[in-house]
């Protein structure tokens, strides 16, 4: 069962140019913070898992081409089904 994910835009104080963020909620729970990579990164415009909570806390955080891909990965992790294409923590 896929959890109900909602996104809330937010500005992030990363102390870098990457400040365009999204809080990701599963129901009432904050489960992840995504940030859009600014100029200066190889993957400009892609979304990086700045922080994940619980099952989304991984040692090698992934980057996604768009928010839809991020939501797909997050939903998979929360359902206990690892989404392909990322190196995941056990």
């Amino acid at each position: 069962m896929s959890p109900d994910l909602t996104l809330t835009p937010v500005r992030l104080g990363t102390d870098a140019a990457d400040e365009d963020g999204q809080l990701v909620f599963a129901g009432d729970f904050l489960v992840a913070v995504l940030v859009r990579l600014a100029e200066g990164h190889e993957a400009v415009g892609h979304w990086f898992l700045e922080h994940g909570f619980g099952r989304l806390h991984v040692t090698v955080p992934p980057t996604f081409s768009d928010l839809q891909a991020a939501k797909h990965w997050i939903a998979g992790r929360l359902s206990g089904i690892p989404a392909g294409g990322s190196r995941l923590s056990p």
């Binding site: 990457d18 200066g40 990164h41 190889e42 990086f48 040692t59 955080p61 980057t63 190196r87 995941l88």
Partner: protein
Amino acid sequence: MQQHTTSYGPPHSDRPPERHRLVRKLQSITDLTAEERQALLDLPMTVRSYARGEDIVREGDTPSECCLVLEGFACRYKLLPDGRRQIMAFHTPGDMPDLQSLHIGVMDHSVAAMMPTQAAFIPHTSMRDLTHAYPGLLHAFWRDTLIDAAIFREWLIGVGRRDGHERIAHLICEMLLRFRGVDLAPNDTFKMPVTQADIGDALGLSHVHVNRVLQDLRRDGLITWTNSVVSILDWEKLQKRALFDATYLHQVHEAAA
């Protein structure tokens, strides 16, 4: 995996000119006599070339030779079953990344080239003969492995307790002194062909975080890092940012800056 054996042509097929890096490396951490230096230069070796990313020695191998980095840059790493990689050490010319294979038969990690790299292979039997004939060299190699362990301890502190800026600045400080030790850092500039993902895998950081920190270090005028060439612009400030204390490298001879 392609692999080339380089021939330097007789009568010097086993005497590549870069073999002096081993002497230079050991002299950066201990004193050697003229006879010991010559014995190192006379070691038989077979030279092979590797492309970036190619394994030089693999986990599970049971080598009968020790490898010496002649030219290029190498790392020691280990993979978890799902592909996550931890890089545990970087190696400059003059280093023998699998010296341990002389006494520990099975490789418990792999050694890979980080750029086009030439490695010389010295038979274990020759290493044993050498250290029997020259006990001073036995102590030199022992000291080298102890310093290797000291470097691992320092990396452990980095991964466990240093923040991102400190970790990356610390790595740059360490590599400058190690490249200086083998005379490969003229004007505090050295070639370190690693990607941000490589640094992340070595220091336990995301490539995004590595990129942010490198941008900060450049903006603050501490380093430049362009096309794999690292230049230290403000050594004092960089050491401060890294909380760097060079004691753990146990270098005994101040190398030319």
